[in-house]
């Protein structure tokens, strides 16, 4: 072994590490999105995340939304948080959850300003400005790669994804886990057909059963809407691309998680408890899937694509990876890592993985991804139930 890998990051009070130092303006209710947006626009560098709903939610749906709000606030890439909402009661619940990490939080409610949205944003800008000034004192210092929390995702796949890009992401996830860090991947429905392989890699039989159960639960949900997820899977386009069975398709998808033992199945947006490889139960569409990783504490994300996909996370820098030579040549301002040497048959997977891991550490240290340069970052809040 060589020297332990490091990056330059922001040490946080709870022992985690920021790869960025953003002021997060977090609107926790659909009523205050516009006011929060006015605040964020007036404080350069502030990042707006606005929950578009927030009342009339019950049970696990409400619990998951709370986890997401608190988790995004606690994410180490947020140096401080301004919470915006309508009432003190909801703000206090979220604020307490975030402040337990030792992070500085301010909160402003519409109730405080007699429902005057302009007064809300005026007071909010003053609070946000003070936070932004104070948190700019943070400095990057050398930190071990074990503090990285990496979410791996694939979006818009083609025949090169399962063959090259996902196994490459998996080799990088393995390197991070071996360095003491944590990696997570999700998209439960993409385990379908390979859940027995994932389960066999679980740290305990109970975790293995939880993996199989998570897939069965999503299958039941789909069946209740009249969808049969195994019947016509892989689809015609997959078959043209060379995929012969659902097992093969799913093995190509879960390859992005690497080969290390699975430490547990996390509910969507639940905090990553420690180092190692984790799987997250959740939706397959990239925006809500990746937002779940970031709420779980991921400070970096890695995103593989075949023909291209511009989606990036707003808070955790997204390293975009392709091995498709045409995509790499065509999307110069989207693809951060060109692994097309793998498809040309001129570059060994292990060599490409070493280079991508080094680039991940470089982006973690502050080098911007194309998605950051072009401000492509987004977020999406997954749901588990109907509004009442």
């Amino acid at each position: 072994m060589g020297i332990a890998p490091e990056f330059l990051g922001y040490p946080r009070a709870d022992g985690s590490a920021g790869t960025r130092n953003r002021l997060l303006v977090l609107s926790i209710l659909g009523l205050t999105g516009a006011g929060a947006q006015r605040i964020a626009r007036q404080v350069p560098g502030a990042l707006l995340v606005a929950l578009p709903y927030g009342r009339g939610q019950f049970g696990e749906d409400r619990a998951m939304t709370r986890r997401m709000l608190i988790g995004l606030g606690r994410n180490p890439n947020a140096g401080a948080v301004l919470l915006v909402g309508a009432d003190r009661q909801r703000l206090d619940i979220v604020a307490e959850g975030i402040m337990a990490s030792g992070k500085r939080v301010e909160a402003i409610a519409l109730d405080d300003v007699h429902e005057d949205s302009l007064a809300l944003s005026d007071r909010g800008v003053r609070l946000a400005a003070a936070l932004a000034r104070d948190m700019s004192r943070a400095r990057r210092v050398p930190l071990p790669a074990s503090l990285l929390r990496l979410g791996t995702e694939c979006g818009h796949s083609d025949a090169t994804s399962g063959l090259g890009a996902n196994p490459l992401a998996g080799l990088v996830a393995d390197r991070l886990v071996d360095a003491g860090g944590a990696a997570v991947f999700g998209e439960t429905m993409e385990w379908l057909g390979a859940e027995h392989v994932l389960a066999a890699r679980a740290q305990t039989p109970e975790i293995g059963r939880a993996i199989v159960d998570a897939v069965a639960q999503r299958e039941r949900w789909a069946a209740a809407t009249g969808e049969d997820l195994t019947g016509n899977n892989p689809g015609a386009e997959n078959i043209r691309g060379g995929l012969s069975s659902i097992e093969e398709k799913s093995l190509g998808a879960i390859a992005k998680g690497g080969s290390r033992p699975v430490q547990g199945v996390l509910p969507h947006a639940a905090p990553i408890p420690g180092p190692g490889l984790w799987v997250m139960e959740g939706p397959s569409f990239s925006p809500p899937s990746v937002t779940g990783f970031v709420a779980a504490g991921c400070n970096m994300t890695m995103f593989t694509t075949g023909p291209g996909n511009s989606y990036c996370d707003a808070l955790a820098p997204t390293v975009k990876v392709t091995v498709n030579p045409k995509t790499a040549a065509r999307l110069h301002h989207q693809i951060d890592f060109d692994g097309s040497g793998l498809m040309r048959g001129t570059r060994e997977p292990e060599d490409a993985a070493d280079a991508l891991f080094a680039q991940l550490l470089d982006h973690a240290s502050g080098t911007r991804t194309w998605g950051e340069v072009l401000d492509e970052g987004g977020y999406a809040f997954a749901r588990l139930g109907a509004d009442f």
Partner: protein, 100 residues
Amino acid sequence: MAMRWDLLVLHPEDDVAVALRDLEAGEAIARCGEALAPLQLCAPVPLGHKVARHAIEPGQHVRKYGAVIGEATAPIAAGAHLHVHNMRSLRARKRGEEQQ
């Protein structure tokens, strides 16, 4: 001249190599870990499609990524194109039998 290979074996225990580009029938080179090995292709194989590394009997499991991806439904020669015409999912078959 730098070495260049045409197919990739994703796991050393795999029964298949995967085409890295559209390949013609005839001699090709497969990479497996550190090693390069010649493979005689029986027919043209498109990018992303599988080729048998050795002969496979009907009913035998087919491995890729070091895991079983299905079973052979016909005799498959070494170097033959391996796809839905000569293999099938175990998972989808099991599901079909449950429904009957």
